[in-house]
Amino acid sequence: MADLTTHFAGIRCPNPFWLASGPPANCGDQVMRGFDAGWGGAVWKTIGDPIVNVSSRYSSVDLNGYRMMGLNNIELISDRPIADNLREISEVKRRYPHHAVIASLMVESKRETWHDIVKRAEDAGADGLELNFGCPHGMSERGMGSAVGQVPEYACMITEWVKEAAHTPVLVKLTPNISDIRTVARAAKRGGADALSAINTINSITGIDLDTLTPRPDVGGKSSHGGYCGPAVKPIALHMVQQIAGDPGVQLPISAIGGISSWREAAEFILLGAGTLQACTAPMHYGFRIVEDMIDGLSRWMDSKGYANLDAFRGLSLPRVTDWQHLDLNYKIIARINPDTCIGCQLCYTACWDGAHQCIHVTGRASPEIYAAMSAVAIVSTPTTPAVSHATPAKRIPTVDEHECVGCNLCWLVCPVENCISMVRVDKGDHPQSWAEKAKS
């Protein structure tokens, strides 16, 4: 089996799967149960002066029956006394010396205050510190969290303060609520950060109750914007991780966060350069046990690809991300529909016709007139037994005008049958040419 042992910015742990700073890492009991389930590390729920939370705190976006496709929260940092959190960190480290325990920290922007909390966290035995510069709700109104993370100078300055006191690796957790995440990543680097965590949650209002007209979550008839996470944010997180990992001015280890629910997302983030993977929504949804398949699935995938350890494939997809201007304009694919597996739903037809380039065709179309005509002839007898064979009638199978097809993928994306539509390379014999090259010539 592949070796998942992780060395991240000087922190060692049995595997790259960490509980992210949030409700699943709120107390020592949870973190220890998480380690028992297989998690390699945990970033403690952010420690700072205890706050008072509201109720309710979470809301979500469901998609066609899938619960919590996206999760939103207006919960603040830990509501437990600093001393309790630190005592439990010591206890966890004593019992699980080989697992990573990272203390997430957030205090007011005073040098001495930061020095003090850093010292206390390290004295408790934390393997590293994560500076929460990302929390987008509540704390930011008090000048903390994303209020720091959105101003590169503040982020740099506080990182410097922390580094003055810290002896363990310092991770800076970045907010996505900024026009270019690389500016803060570079600032953290200037401040001396040893690693970055990305992304924190995204500003969001998940929805409005159409009876009460109050947005969710409802706190006594009012709501507030929260932080969005879960499967829905993975594409945004992947992009931001790629931006940081691909930036020559950053070059720091990255602990990836954002919609990681299984080994598949984990592999994707590692391919874009991530060193560890943090998850919060997934264990909130299904419990700590999900890590078993994260480990098992990732190991098996690595075995199938011949990757002996995580470094063997880390960042392999980074060179394959480039600016649009460098893409080959002469690369040409078209859609092919396999009539043997087509079920005749015609979603590709209507998608191409209404939503793309009008190059998929069907022979007949429904209209009231046609229904009327069918009504007049169709009723001869109702069969008593359901049809045995379900071959799709030829007239329901759409065809692609291969000369008109622009290779946009839309039909392939909407087709409910796997491998029914394939996007096929059509080689016209032209040399590759990018927009940049074309503009130059």
């Binding site: 066609n64 029956g65 597996t341 079920i343 005749g344 739903c345 015609q346 979603l347 037809y349 209507t350 069907v362 007949g364 179309r365 429904a366 007139e369 046609i370 229904y371 009327a372 005509a373 069918m374 009504s375 007049a376 002839v377 169709a378 009723i379 001869v380 109702t382 069969p383 008593t384 037994t385 359901p386 049809a387 379900h390 071959a391 799709t392 007239k395 329901r396 409910p416 049958v417």
Partner: protein
């Protein structure tokens, strides 16, 4: 009347709201969907299902009743396995088809729970139409006529309107009180219902501009064998009508049902539910010849009904059925369900219409009979089929009446001539009058 109904457990319990949304979201929303084509009334199935998925249940129900005013009864009694659900493209990848019938019921139950009305903005019209028979065909015809503003009176010889929906559908599928809701929906559009034992053709022709014949079929046919008049020998429709109206005829402990169609199954299952421990269906031919739907056959077997094949009764005694094969089946009650007779006596009073094999011959596109004053649809035309067939034929006849009267300015007189060959049945010049049992390609 609900409190007097016999409470049978429902054959298909309704979906919960959450299950309905999950099932609705499973629908692929096919374009030009095969399910809508397979429905005789061409309900826009993906459209009404999408509306369930978004929580727009009233919009969903209006989509249904727009195409088929009997959307509630059809959702309960349609043989969906061989119609809409049988056409679902999910079959092609070995998935469960969408539960279209249950979803339709979900929307219609909501519609009736909110006392929904048909969304007609009727412009009154001086033309008057009579519908004979108050079953599904006439209800569908009347509602469609009201949409166009024509005045409609429905005549029926039975005290309650609804036809077989009220008197003949198995109770575990559809109750008379649900049937009454559909009648009330049609009545609310301004249709007048009249209970009349004997109809005068002369009066009808004098008082109405057009007449729709939707009289269905008559009594269960007799077998013509000794013992048929014994008190222990019942006919299926009367047996079903009696228990549906809370006056079940006693059947004793063992029952023999004669026949091989869906009514035989309805009667046998009902006898079982009413307490008979031994129920057998005797069919004169083999299993493969049975005209009952496969799922009905399975249902009967699942409740413990026995089947005796190739058994033709030759004599009934008080305690047995004797068959030509020498078999004697002991039973306390016999229920005969070998199909309904034609209502020839009534139909022959209208001398100007054409009958073939006891069925009214119509132009299938318009429902028009040989006499342009008369239109027809439902069992009296098709020989006895589903509620949804009657609904489709009744509606089509109404559109034929509207066109014939020149009262519709929105629809072109003929919109069929420019259709692709495949859809017009490949006929170059269809005969204007065609009874449905003829092969469609001549």
């Amino acid at each position: 009347m609900t409190k007097h109904e016999i409470a049978f457990p429902e054959l298909h319990p309704p979906l919960t709201p959450q299950a309905a949304i999950a099932e609705a979201n499973r629908c692929l929303y096919c374009f030009d969907s095969p399910c809508a084509s397979a429905c005789p009334t061409h309900i826009d199935v993906p459209r009404f299902i999408k509306k369930i998925a978004t929580g727009n249940l009233l919009g969903s129900a209006e989509t249904i009743v727009e195409a088929n005013v009997l959307g509630l009864s059809c959702s309960r009694v349609c043989p969906v396995e061989v119609l809409c659900e049988g056409a679902c493209v999910y079959h092609n990848i070995n998935h469960q088809p969408i539960a279209i019938g249950l979803l339709q019921r979900h929307a219609m139950d909501h519609f009736y729970a909110l006392a929904g009305k048909l969304p007609y903005k009727t412009v009154p019209n001086a033309k008057r139409v009579a519908c004979i028979g108050a079953g599904p065909a006439s209800l569908a015809c009347a509602a469609e006529l009201r949409k166009h503003g024509l005045a409609v009176t429905i005549f029926d010889k039975r005290p309650l309107p609804g036809g077989l929906n009220t008197y003949g559908v198995a109770q575990y599928k559809f109750t008379p009180s649900d049937a009454a809701r559909e009648v009330e929906l049609v009545r609310a559009t301004g249709v007048e219902f009249r209970h009349l034992e004997i109809l005068s053709i002369e009066d009808l022709e004098r008082d109405y501009d057009a007449v729709f014949i939707g009289i269905g079929l008559g009594r269960t046919q007799p077998l013509g064998i000794p013992g048929e008049n014994l008190p222990s020998v019942l006919n299926a429709l009367e047996f079903i009508a009696a228990y549906k109206n809370a006056q079940p005829l006693p059947v004793g402990n063992s029952v023999a049902v004669i026949g091989g169609g869906n009514t035989a199954i309805d009667a046998a299952v009902a006898a079982k539910l009413l307490g008979a421990s031994q129920v057998s269906i005797l069919y004169r031919r083999s299993e493969s010849h049975m005209s009952a739907f496969a799922f009905e056959y399975e249902h009967a077997r699942s409740v413990g009904v026995n089947f005796v094949w190739n058994a033709r009764p030759v004599r009934f005694t008080e305690h047995a059925v004797e068959c030509d094969c020498g078999l004697s089946i002991p039973c306390d009650t016999v229920i005969i369900a070998i199909g309904q007779s034609r209502l020839l006596e009534t139909l022959q009073k209208i001398r100007t219409i054409e009958l073939r094999n006891g069925r009214v011959v119509v132009n299938p596109r318009t429902g028009e009979t040989a006499d342009p004053k008369y239109f027809a649809g439902g069992d009296c035309v098709n020989g006895g089929r589903e509620v949804v067939d009657a609904a489709a034929e009744g509606k089509r006849a109404a559109q034929g009446i509207v066109q014939a009267m020149g009262t519709d300015r929105s629809v072109p007189k003929s919109n069929i001539s420019n259709l692709p060959q495949s859809l017009s049945g490949g006929q170059s010049g269809p005969s204007p009058l065609r009874s449905p049992e003829e092969p469609k390609n001549g």
